[in-house]
């Protein structure tokens, strides 16, 4: 086990190194130059060169790469080209907003997916099963922006039940409301993007749980359980579902880690100031340090979450040893 863990850590470090090198190269081979976005017509040529120099863009690529790696090892992601703020502080600020939306949504879709998946696998062939499988698949394959815009149009613009995007109502916040009012306002803004997210995502867990559960139900120990005369509920929840959960645990660990990358489309449609939207905006403005930093943080979280899932697996399933 100890050897395995050390091996995995080495593997993580190598993977991380490869990923950040790819990120670096990816942005350097793009055909344009980030400083072109800051150049204004009234700027003199000398001023334009000053800006390129400030960004370190006048150095050869190899030198830029060495500086990049050196800074990474020191945990310094640099400053954003666009705002000059330290990349880490921007990422942390946006990350909280993203966790608030995406991570909540992942957990919720996970719970709903598991619950329904378990139930419909037990009632295989019923109308309910067909209905939920089709519904899950239908939403899972729906075009995200379309669904988001429809929800906004119906529930926010026509019915006016929810606000038109954003995270808070500025008109309320500028008059210094109480904590309770703030929480209510945040919640009110959270509901619509959250529902969109869950509706789009619960299908994947539902199908995964259903398939896994169907596999488990074929196992001999289920037959044994029935032969012992156990109650249906006990067989379903304690014998079948627990074993069927195993692949879902991995899927969950990965989803949680990916959820910090944010839902790019949902955040954009609902004007949610999260990490996904930041990545899109930063990419469009070629804000290299910010995108590199964001990708590096996401890579690290995904790698660590996978690692944690592997370790957890061996505890959950004693049949697996490393």
């Amino acid at each position: 086990m100890g050897k395995y863990i050390i091996g995995r850590i080495v593997q993580i470090i190598i993977t991380f190194f490869i990923v950040i090198s790819i990120i670096f190269l990816m942005f350097r081979v793009m055909p344009s130059d980030p400083s072109s976005f800051l150049l204004t017509p009234s700027m003199t040529a000398e001023a334009k060169q000053t800006i390129r120099k400030q960004f370190g863009l006048d150095e050869p690529i190899a030198v830029q790469y060495v500086i990049y790696l050196k800074n990474f090892i020191h945990g310094d992601f640099g400053n954003s080209f666009y705002s000059g703020r330290p990349v880490m502080s921007i990422i942390m600020e946006k990350m909280l907003n993203t966790i608030f939306l995406s991570t909540t949504a992942v957990i919720l879709s996970y719970l709903i997916g598991i619950f329904i998946g378990k139930a419909i696998a037990w009632k295989r062939g019923s109308k309910a099963e067909k209905f939920f499988v089709i519904l899950g698949l239908w939403f899972y394959t729906t075009f995200t922006p379309w669904l988001g815009i429809m929800f906004l149009w119906i529930f926010a613009f026509k019915l006016k039940w929810f606000p038109l995007g954003g995270m808070i109502t500025p008109e309320k916040w500028i008059f210094d409301p109480s904590l309770f009012e703030k929480i209510c306002d945040l919640g009110h803004h959270l509901i619509l993007p959250l529902i969109t997210y869950v509706v789009l995502w619960f299908g994947s867990y539902l199908l995964l749980m259903r398939n896994s559960m169907l596999e488990t139900l074929k196992e001999d120990y289920i037959l044994t359980a029935r032969a012992k005369g156990l109650k249906e509920k006990v067989i379903k929840n304690r014998h079948a579902a627990r074993n069927a959960m195993l692949p879902i645990v991995t899927a969950f660990a990965i989803s949680i880690s990916f959820s910090i990358a944010g839902a790019v489309l949902i955040e954009t449609i609902f004007s949610w100031p999260g990490i996904g939207r930041t990545i899109v905006e930063a990419t469009l403005r070629q804000d290299y340090p910010l995108v590199q930093g964001a990708f590096a943080v996401i890579t690290m979280v995904v790698l660590l979450a996978n690692f944690a899932a592997d370790i957890a697996y061996s505890y959950l399933d004693p049949r697996i040893t490393y």
Partner: protein, 577 residues
Amino acid sequence: MKLRQFICIAMIFAFSMLCTILGHIPQAQAYQGLILPSGEKMAPMELLTLTPGADPTLNQEAVFIAEWWKKIGIPVTAKAMEKGALVKKIFWARDYDATIWYLGGERFPSYMQYYFSEAEIYEYGWNFMQYKNPKYDKLSSDWLTLLDRTKAQQSAFNLQKIIADENPQIPLISDTQLTAYNNTRWKNWINQYGGPQSFDSICAIDPVGGDTAKDILKIGILKEPDILNPLGTGFSDTWTIINNIYNGGMWNQPTALYRIAPGSGELIPFLADGELKYDNAANTAIVKLKKGIKWHDGTKLTAADIKFTIDLIKEFKVPNYKDCVDIIDKIEALDDYTLKYHLTKKNVNFYNKTMMMIILQKQKWSVIAKEAKAKEDPTKYISQYQIKNPMGAGPFKFADWKKGSYILLEKNSDWFFKDYTMPIGTGGTLKFDLKVDKILFKFYASSELRTLALKNGDIDVCSIPIASMDDFKADKKMTIVEWGNDWTDFIGFNCSKAPFNDPAFRKAVHYLIDKDFFVEKLQQGYAVPQHSVIPAVNQFWSDPKCPTYGAGWSMKKRIKKAVKILKKAGYTWESEN
């Protein structure tokens, strides 16, 4: 597979093949295979433009122009590129034949000098057209030294005429900006330079239904500023906010010590008291400052602040303001309210840029400057400094910034210019009655969402897309304001390469561009065809008499004219019907 299915698939395949083939058969053109006077056949060329996502109008213009040029046998295709890549290709590598680009955005069009100057031909320089004309260079540098406004205007007209005749670039159209506001909330919006959301307009609007002092003006913007540092930001959305804190600034509100009168181009004193006294012989200028102007913290704004700002920008070589301070050799504060500028050379940038430049508070910025000096790259440090609490002397004070959601400004009740009257572009005057109590800038991720928010009453004013016009016109609560943009699209030619090095060729292709078609078909009438390099909305500097190259002509007549010019210049065709 059943036979019927097979036949179906085969038919679809055959149909799509047929369409592809038909699409590739060249249309029969009257003129084919243009041959240059040198005897060579013209090589295929690309007309570069931005992607439809970045700018749909620019992209469409290129597609149509390419089609029109093909009619006289020019082997041209429109090619869309991502913005940064295009900048690199045209501004740096100069590796192109023709491109569509845009210029403008400056009240005083100093670009007339540097865009066409031979001195700007080197890599990174502005003259990417590589246009060389010693006579023009002489005229344009002289123009920058003309302090007499009437003479300067005449000289600018002459410059525009040269460009219009020689065509190193062809101005196309300038689109009309559409701003809609909710007329049940605020009235008396001013429609002038910068539109209804400009500094002047915000200081002049009144609430509907009496004085509701508690009222908040809510403005929807698309790009959240990342920094509120006037030295570092060049984004117009950010300036819309900063203007109100600092009494204007260089960008979309050229206002500081003086401002430019919209019709006459004269300087009107703003922070300055009385006229600017320029000593021609000594090349010095004396500017007096109004007494009693205060910073938001209550301290006095004095000549020392202005001297400090100029010295700071000179010392730290802040790129955005180089034009403003380069011509200043030295600045003295003779007393608290008198400044003496020593200029290195006679240059109207002093009037049009230095006098409109931002003013920073010495007390606050001397601390930042001290910190910056200790850093490895002081210029970078000072231009990217995160200002938590911007200190200005403008009509609004900075109040709050909730990242990702809003920026709030609060009325400065002690604003020096409250109840002042100022002349406006349409001829009358406006009164800065400052009825807005708070300005709330709300950020939206897409213009669709922002448009919905305006209709929903979440915001009071914002720009709207042409597609929403009918919807807004039908809505009685909404008023739409149309205002002229001071940017214009143009085609720039690589004048160092055949055949675009030939003025006759450039003139011929100019005749083939139907600008009215763009206005009608691409912009649904919400644009103005441009004939001068300086957009017509810039009334004082733009020459209304520039040649129009066949405005109102049919395409047939245009082709005839272009062919005539080309034949005269020695061009022939492989086949001609």
